[in-house]
Symmetry: C2
Subunit: 445 residues, 2 copies
């Protein structure tokens, strides 16, 4: 095998492309980077002799199949809903496929045919999902190997701005899909606590956060992810009484975001008719019921969300421009889209800004009669707005795993996620060279 | 024209089938009633010489086309998402189509081709939507005809249980689609007040209800419907500063339903894994966060929803069985589905129960220098659980309009809703014979 195709050349692909091109020179691979924007693809290849950037409209079946037909391994960094088309091509043309996205039910249905054709379809090989699976599984297997019985597993991840680049009252900037930032948490979160099922519906998800101590970094807020029970079986933790996956934010974020939820500004299902001619101020006034009739819109919103008008929450809303008399200028947009447009501007990563990823696993386990706790923490900062920690931690696992597949070291065919030692050990090992190192703390409880 | 096809023989079809069969005898029509359950279709035809009941799996294209091909007018009482298939057949086979469902965007796209083939595709010809459009338009046109300028239009409808059959603490029974009862109001409601856009997101829709006086019936709670602005243009009310559509419930309903929303029990997007082995009590406990740790689940839920443990709200929840230790017995069901199953049992219309429809339009208008208010109210009770007011008010407009089309009295081709006098006048007139009479009150403001 000596041809590799990377579909997608956006920000999340930067580190993956760089890594694969480096390895290509050593191993005599040829790397094709395809994107709807061929200039972007070419810029990412940057004249490397082992690569080329090319144009691809992924909806054009023939073009897509021609590119895939000429390769051995496909790395897809497309939006999740587009993977399936590529997957069908890979089945047809007998190619391996690697993605960083959640494996959908439709993708799972390809498991038998992929296995029978000895094709490797690896999903969730990025950061979250990806490094979270791999690092957790390594620890889980190590605790089990020494005879430990795991009674609690809690895992938190945050895609944040580094403290030195944090210059806004929300202490947050956008380092991934902005739409997902706005819609995060919609639905009902579920997890297990002392053997009992726990549910948090969206309307109080950002109210019921917990404070998590990150060694060396201080305390962060964590709100529960949608389905913490999803990976219980895959992780070999069936029957565990405590399991929780959460998202980390700097302190003060959740209370302010909760105000946006309460007002109704994160609703992406419903257009506000005539929003283009409306001001943000008018829109907010529209959300105030008759019981909040006195004072300025800012004062009435403060009363409504049960905060002082000078509170940090209201200051954050004000800083976003939600009380401004500027026009929205988006035609019949949903509240979520209107908010997203505001945040894209206000929470923009400036060119020199560094992002920061924090991932922390907490395990509680019994070893004989002893109760022990282990905490594994990864903190990694990016270099600037192009070379983000997010891009590295999504792209490097993809690249490293692609190298394993290209080298013929992986034999696990079928549709999988990286929970098997033969998959995660080489990836985690090589990630260490790039500074992806979890620090472990262990103590008796 | 002498063949009419009614697709769907469920409860909402009863009055329509009965009406059409009556008219068939006088006019020598032949009526085919088709349903997935042929016994039900036959039972509704009840041996009438001008009709027959037959089996139809609406997804079987050939069977469906054969039936439609042999008819002149199709009345479809299918669930809304199935109308489109029938509509395409009607285009192909050149047949008129009448439904009681909201006209979807896909259906609207058939407008040109229907018009060019002189086909009548009438949607929203039931109760709500249906009678609401027709009765409002009649009043709007009457006020305009005498020179009035309408400044406010508020319209409320409730599908309720009649007071004499009201024997539960919620004062509510299910007379229509139970799934829609549970999911009602999800999204953001929008309306106009004093020329300003107003929004109420779902998380406070049942908190911000208003009290509406129904002459002769007392006060009812009304919560806002999703998009009150939708029919502004169709009603000829563009530029009106006040418009609101709302749903009526007996007093006490909204506070208790709001508790269900707040707990998170109306979420239909997310399964509760392992729900089959869980009790209602355990499920409710799962929704209690760490800040509600003391006391029984009932006491903690009471604290959480800010109600006394003996309050009416908690009594209503208790009466539903939400604190019971019975098993849920639904596999991996969403909270909404679990709630729906409970309500189907607890809010069941008993055989002799009467339902009740209330519809009230409020108009404010200026006549010269005078400000006036007009209130038009319809109150109608059913006979029993089979012959409901709901079934009559959905089915009679369909039947009456079908008669008009069969008689060649309607020439308005294309995809329409009943807002034109030539459509609503004959239907409203004939509805009076069935007791569908709005009482009007008018006064100076």
């Amino acid at each position: 095998m000596n041809n590799i195709l990377i579909i997608g050349a956006g920000r999340s692909a930067t580190a993956c492309i760089k890594y694969v091109l480096e390895k290509a020179a050593e191993r005599n691979w040829f790397v094709t980077v395809a994107d709807a924007d061929p200039k972007l693809a070419e810029a990412k290849v940057a004249g490397h002799p082992n690569g080329r950037g090319t144009w691809l409209d992924v909806m054009k079946v023939n073009d897509r199949r021609e590119l895939i037909g000429r390769t051995d391994v496909v790395v897809s960094l497309l939006p999740a809903h587009l993977h399936l088309e590529v997957a069908h091509d890979c089945i047809k043309l007998k190619k391996h496929l690697i993605t960083a996205s959640y494996v959908s039910q439709e993708m799972h249905r390809l498991a038998d045919v992929a296995r029978s054709q000895e094709l490797i379809f690896m999903g969730e090989m990025g950061l979250d999902p990806g490094i979270d699976h791999m690092s957790a599984m390594q620890q889980i297997n190590a605790i089990k190997a020494k005879g430990g019985k795991i009674t609690a597993f809690r895992s938190y991840t945050g895609g944040l701005v580094a403290p030195e680049s944090d210059d806004n009252p929300w202490h947050y900037k956008i380092t991934w899909n902005p739409r997902n930032v706005v819609l995060a948490g919609q639905g009902t979160a579920q997890y297990l606590e002392n053997g009992k099922h726990k549910y948090i519906p969206y309307n109080r998800l950002f109210k019921e956060y917990r404070l998590i101590d990150i060694p060396g970094m201080g305390k962060f807020e964590a709100y529960a992810n949608r389905d913490s029970l999803l990976y219980r079986e895959a992780y070999g933790l069936a029957g565990i009484p405590n399991i929780l996956r959460g998202t980390l934010r700097y302190r003060g974020f959740c209370d302010a975001w909760n105000a946006l939820v309460k007002i109704g500004l994160t609703d992406g299902a419903y257009p506000i008719m005539g929003s283009e001619d409306m001001t943000y101020h008018e829109m907010l006034e529209g959300y105030l019921g008759p019981s909040f009739a006195n004072g300025s819109v800012k004062e009435r919103i403060a009363t409504f969300v049960k905060q002082g008008v000078d509170s940090e929450v209201i200051q954050k809303l004000d800083w976003l421009g939600l009380f401004s008399k500027k026009k929205i200028r988006l035609k019949d947009a949903t509240p979520a889209l209107i908010l997203e447009q505001l945040l894209l501007d206000k929470w923009k990563l400036n060119p020199q800004d560094k992002d920061m990823i924090i991932m922390q696993h907490e395990f509680e386990y019994e070893l004989g009669r002893e109760k022990r706790q282990q905490i594994s923490t990864l903190v990694m900062k990016g270099e600037d707005s192009e070379n983000t920690a997010m891009s590295k931690l999504v792209g490097l696992p993809l690249g490293i795993f692609a190298k394993q597949v290209m080298g013929g070291h992986i034999v696990k065919a079928g549709v999988n996620i990286p929970v098997m030692p033969e998959v995660y050990e080489p990836v985690l090992n090589e990630l260490k060279e790039y500074g992806v190192i979890f620090k472990d703390e262990e103590k008796a409880l």
